[in-house]
């Protein structure tokens, strides 16, 4: 499935843009997405941590992604 991943903060710099078109296998889980992201962008592994948000909610690793989902990479937050 074709999808657009939103990136913010340091992830935006690692991905060299605020969003990234990606071709993902159907039925991919959040954990599998993280593995593919880290394989394609090894800098992601150097982050203290990061989470995936799906439709504006933090997602668990076993969540299965759909092409209609809004998917975002959330590097360590630092508001306030």
């Amino acid at each position: 499935m074709k999808t657009t991943i939103l990136t913010f903060g340091i992830a935006k710099e690692i991905f060299n843009g605020a969003s990234k078109e990606m071709n993902l296998k159907d039925g991919i889980t959040v954990a599998e997405l993280k593995n593919s992201l880290e394989a394609a962008y090894p800098e992601m592994k150097k982050l203290h941590s990061y989470l995936i948000a799906v439709n504006n909610e933090y997602a668990e690793d076993d969540l299965v992604l759909d092409s209609a989902d809004e998917i975002a990479i959330i590097p360590p937050v630092s508001g306030g």
Partner: protein
């Protein structure tokens, strides 16, 4: 009353207090996060904030609703600034009113502590000799 806002314009502290004022409340606690002039003895030039706006607002509303539910406060205002901020600027204002002071202090602290952990907002510290996304590699 819950009021959350993300703003590219300077935050108005008086407005936050006015919105939170309530004749049934005996006190207002307020936390203002401001831009510090140094980090680990390094001079800070400016901070650059960005956010995932739709999700950030959603998470801020959750914090506000939880603060009301957990502490028994009556009103909470959370305003966060975006964009380029300079030393002394207000980055976040949290105002809380409650019938009694204890709940107001507790909820105000809960709100800023939780905001720093869960709300998708990021800041980059710009120094004289470089810049760093705060907490990214901690």
């Amino acid at each position: 009353m819950i009021d959350v806002k993300i703003s590219a314009e300077p935050l108005d502290i008086t407005t936050c207090i006015m919105k939170t004022t309530d004749t049934e409340c005996g006190g207002i606690a307020i936390f203002i996060g401001t831009v510090r002039n140094k980090t680990n003895a390094k001079k800070v030039i400016r901070l650059e904030y960005e956010c995932y706006q739709s999700m950030a607002l959603k998470e801020m509303k959750k914090i506000a609703a939880d603060a009301v539910r957990l502490s028994g406060i009556k009103n909470i205002t959370i305003h966060h600034r975006m964009g380029i901020l300079h030393i002394g600027d207000s980055a976040v204002v949290i105002a809380v009113s409650a019938p009694h002071r204890e709940a107001a202090f507790d909820a105000c602290r809960y709100a800023i502590d939780t905001l720093k952990k869960t709300v998708p907002i990021w800041k980059k510290e710009v120094f004289e000799d470089g810049e760093v996304w705060v907490s990214a590699h901690a």
